[in-house]
Symmetry: C2
Subunit: 498 residues, 2 copies
């Protein structure tokens, strides 16, 4: 039997899954690496450690199946930036999406209107996570380094380069740089010009299904793989996790709530927001991934659990307690913005709040309002999309936060559409494997994909609760607007306290 390895290069760890050629999962592995945060707002990773983790996973997975690994494909974290010199040696760490050092650049470009132009050209929201702002920051703050760099790549390109010696980037990853023209599906010459950079400073653009090149002998031996193993380009985790849950149609929404969260959907045409509040990442001339990345998902669940119930409490304790309070928490509204927020409000100074307390409110109400607040926020992010793209007919949900029936039903009620859960939660590696199968000649139609994906249960909204949430949702949004300026002042106070 022949096998395909799918790798999902995340921020805290890489997960790998080995599939047989028919798409059946055989084994999976995970290996972590540390985030480097020596200075304020810094969030880097050592690309060599990630490459080491990837090698270990490939080697071990290949030993867990009897037969030939004929392809390796990739799902990757977006927005990372790495500088390499003329010899392909590292000049920087991988500066991850979580790195915030370009925030003042963003502020300045926002004021000058440049940031909105970049959004309109590239579909990349106005945020320091975008390589376009990181490059501007490096150019101003580390000018020497900046001029020494010959190639600017992301983490996936770096890994592919190490394995094959080729500098190639797939367009779903390029789409997350703020340097990639939405209309031309090429590096944006105007933006490159402004940075004093040229096409040759960036990888060559390819399709996600492309074969990158021949694997270097060194790694063929070291990893004990067949010499003709295909190294597939792969794609971004955002793109693949959406495909991987079968949300391939504009009528379907993908909602992932892990530590952070995101809502995503595909559109046949470019759709942009007037205020740049959702991304529009091309994957081909007639396919665009729209969506909102949200900071505050399970990380808030985790915080609230500890805060209300103590360090020993389990997720079940928290959910059991929350279930004793009524839908809507009797008007108690929670803002989950404990560390600022990306979509839908794009405000790093936003803060968390409980608003609307009466003497009736107990811990149970607070617990429930935390869950509702996390979901309201994602609904607000989704709302921006649906306002432009139309309301979808269902929501496909994944992530650690949606493990309980209680939360799943709550999502159906708050979004007021049916919610579908997945049997396979490794949607990233699964879809990466699908890319490889495509390259190997399998025709992957909608039906086949849906077969591999395996839906689990569907949760239909409860009419009465949906209506109640419909009434509360505008209030949730309004309070955010009410507090915007005060949140900024509190954030400033908190910075002074440090």
């Amino acid at each position: 039997m022949n096998y395909i390895i799918g790798l999902d290069v995340g921020t805290t760890a890489t997960k790998g899954t080995v599939y047989d050629i028919n798409g059946k999962k055989k084994a999976e592995l995970k290996k972590g690496y540390p985030l480097i945060q020596l200075k304020e707002d810094q969030a880097e990773e050592d690309p060599r450690l990630i490459f080491a983790a990837v090698q270990t996973i490939i080697f071990k997975l290949s030993k867990m199946v009897k037969g030939k690994v004929i392809a390796i494909s990739w799902s990757s974290q977006m927005h990372s930036l790495i500088g390499l010199d003329k010899n392909g040696e590292l000049l920087t760490n991988s500066i991850t999406w979580a790195d915030n050092r370009a925030k003042d650049i963003v502020l300045r470009d926002k004021e000058s209107g440049l940031a909105l132009k970049i959004y309109q050209q590239t579909g990349m929201p106005v945020h320091p996570m975008a390589p376009v702002y990181k490059l501007a920051w490096l150019k101003e703050n580390k000018p020497e380094l900046f001029t020494q760099v010959d190639k600017w790549v992301d983490i996936k390109t770096y890994l592919l380069y190490r394995l094959t010696g080729e500098f190639k980037e797939d367009i779903t990853m390029a789409a997350g740089t703020g340097l990639f023209s939405l209309k031309k599906l090429a590096w944006d010459q105007i933006i490159l010009n402004q940075l004093g950079l040229k096409d040759r400073n960036f990888p060559q653009l390819v399709q996600p299904t492309a074969v990158i090149g021949k694997m270097k002998d060194e790694y063929v031996h070291k990893l004990d793989l067949p010499a003709d193993v295909k190294v597939i380009a792969g794609a971004s985790d955002g793109y693949l996790s959406t495909v991987g849950v079968g949300a391939v149609d504009k009528n379907e929404f993908a909602l992932n709530i892990g530590t952070s969260g995101a809502v995503r959907m595909f559109s046949k045409k470019v759709l942009l927001d007037k205020k740049a509040r959702f991304f529009c990442y091309p994957s081909s001339k007639n396919n665009y991934l729209l969506g909102g990345p949200v900071n505050n998902g399970g990380i808030i669940f985790e915080w609230a659990k500890k805060m209300l119930l103590g360090p020993q409490a389990t997720a079940k304790n928290f959910l059991d307690l929350a279930q004793t309070a009524p839908a809507g928490s009797d008007g108690l509204l929670f803002h989950p913005y404990l560390g600022g927020e990306r979509a839908p409000i794009w405000d790093s100074n936003a803060r968390g709040s409980f608003v609307g307390l009466t003497r009736k409110h107990t811990k149970a109400y607070m617990a429930r309002s935390v869950l509702e607040g996390i979901i309201f926020n994602l609904r607000a992010a989704a709302h921006l999309l649906t306002a432009s793209a139309g309301k979808p007919k269902e929501l496909r949900i994944t992530g650690g936060f949606v493990r309980s029936n209680f939360v799943r039903q709550m999502i159906a009620n708050i979004f007021a559409i049916p919610v579908v859960t997945m049997k396979n939660d490794q949607s990233g590696t699964l879809a990466a494997m699908l890319l490889a199968r495509q390259e190997l000649g399998f025709t992957e139609n909608r039906e086949k994909i849906k077969n591999l994906i395996k839906e689990d249960k569907t949760y239909f909204p409860d009419q009465e609760e949906a209506e109640l949430y419909q009434n509360l949702f505008p209030l949730y949004c309004e309070i955010g607007q009410d507090l915007e300026k005060s949140y900024a002042k509190i954030a400033a106070f908190q910075k002074r306290q440090k």
Copy 2:
């Protein structure tokens, strides 16, 4: 030895203290009675039960000392309203300050501008607790009853009437009706006219030190008192508790935080707020009690203790936890308006909130922010006064909420002035006794009063923390304004849920 009994007729109970003629406390007693809340917004009491409690206390206290009780004096809850027929028989219960049924009348009179006029004429804030609005409500909603009533009195006048057969009210109590002219120190003829009422429908006005009349034989026998026992008019609890802590000078502020709270000070002249946010109750031609009554004191402490630590937790548990968080709770601000608020915002739709949460915030920070929020709110109430009357040089504090050194120091820091605590916390009955002593011919100068009152400790503000709170206080106020409209919408939602 001769003795004086001081009675404090509260909302939940009457407390009585017997003092010897030199002002030394000999014994005290307390007897409770229920609040009647059969309909929404109703809060009544049965005057007969209160009268029974008063008789029991007088009788028992007089048996606890050897000698003659020569005078009985009173401190009383304000704003109660009782209707009596031509024979002095009850036609209503005592409608207490907590009764909210006149709220729509208040809304209407606010819009028409009438309410502000009433404030300017009488110093009574715009609130359904005021008898002037209760009378308008009764006239519209119970017209038959309204015409049957011959005398409108408050609870103290009722008790004095039962004991002596006389209808007399002291002016500090009349000041809390919204019917008493600030300038003329008499029933306001224009307001009475508007209600279709005359002077003869109200008690005769007297000084707090006045002797009401001879005690009826019936009660002289029943209570086993000397026939010539002096029944003194007494005064309002607000007036007496301020005198009773020695805040008799415009440089001194009295702050009481029990279940609810209040800030009060005396002024030599009439002072009014443009927006009617503090009261101005005359006690004589050159003495006016200014202040703000605040709903949310210890009642919020009690709620937060249960909510955060469970029903078994003690006040000490809560305070110990709060002390582990830094001053300012790292920018976490708490609004204590769980059941709306009187001063300083006069908004029954206001609600509670925690605003400014980050992942750093734990239960300890929430606990501390609750204490700070309760005190910020009282500072805001005080701020209205000091803006008109000037900043006092010290704050004299009483009530269950200020039992700990931690809270006392926090009050000093948030108010940024020295805080003085009292050894005797029965300031109401003490000052009532002083009225009786005055009538008995003792001259009570400032020094003598201060001797009887007995200060305990003084807490001086910590420079650094005071500065920090100085920075946070405007934010606390601003957030209240931010949320005003949303609070009203949440309150409306909560009403619909009932």
